[in-house]
């Protein structure tokens, strides 16, 4: 990760295990194909992040 950050001149943000990203993907997109899907508000977005263990300022949506 440090090599990548150095190579592209970017700071490191949040590093998340892929299995946790899969859990996030399931929760985030699980209803997306439904006609009645509603875009979640900030509180609902934060709740999804918390449910998969993503906490702290980086994961605050507002």
């Amino acid at each position: 990760m440090a090599d990548w950050a150095h190579a592209v001149g970017e700071v490191i943000g949040a590093v998340v295990p892929l299995e946790r990203v899969y859990e996030l993907g399931v929760r985030w997109y699980g209803r997306r194909l439904r006609l009645d899907w509603e875009r979640p508000d900030a509180a609902a977005i934060d709740a999804i992040f918390r449910a998969v263990g993503l906490t702290g300022d980086f994961w605050s949506s507002s």
Binding site: G13, V21, Y22, L24, V26, F49
Partner: protein
């Protein structure tokens, strides 16, 4: 979200899900039985609501799907989709079941791949999120 835009959005997602591509404006209009001008207006409202991303006269993103070639490829059986990022790739696998996620190592460019089987991801890997959640939509292409 108004009813017309909701149905247009549904056509976009169904087309990505079933055909691994974005529908055209004409296809959206025909499917919802509205004029192309009305469909274009619905696309505009969906884009303003951050529900799709447009690139000229095409749907570039309807998360998790990408309407263009990307480095994030998802394969489920013989089906294949392009995702916008690793998060979206995992989302597509969550929607359609066991499969593979292929991309390029951001440093070396070498292809790397992961498999998802019954919700288990292998081999181990990490995803780097550069942009904080509050700023995801400042530049969604970069995010």
């Amino acid at each position: 979200m108004d009813d017309v835009a909701r149905h247009v959005r549904h056509v976009i997602y169904e087309t990505f899900a079933d055909e691994s591509r974005a529908p055209s404006l004409a296809e959206c209009a025909a499917a919802v039985d509205i004029s192309e001008a009305e469909a274009a207006a619905a696309w505009g409202r969906l884009a303003s609501a951050h529900e799709i991303v447009l690139d000229g006269d095409a749907v570039s993103m309807a998360h998790p799907f990408a309407g263009r070639f990307t480095a994030h490829v998802v394969e489920v059986g013989l089906r294949r989709w392009y995702a916008n990022c690793a998060w979206d790739a995992m989302g597509i696998l969550g929607l359609f079941g066991d499969g593979a996620y292929r991309t390029a190592d951001p440093v070396t460019g070498v292809e790397v791949a992961w498999n998802v089987e019954e919700g288990n991801v292998s081999p181990k890997g990490v995803v780097h999120f550069l942009v904080p959640a509050a700023h995801f939509w400042d530049d969604i292409g970069f995010t």
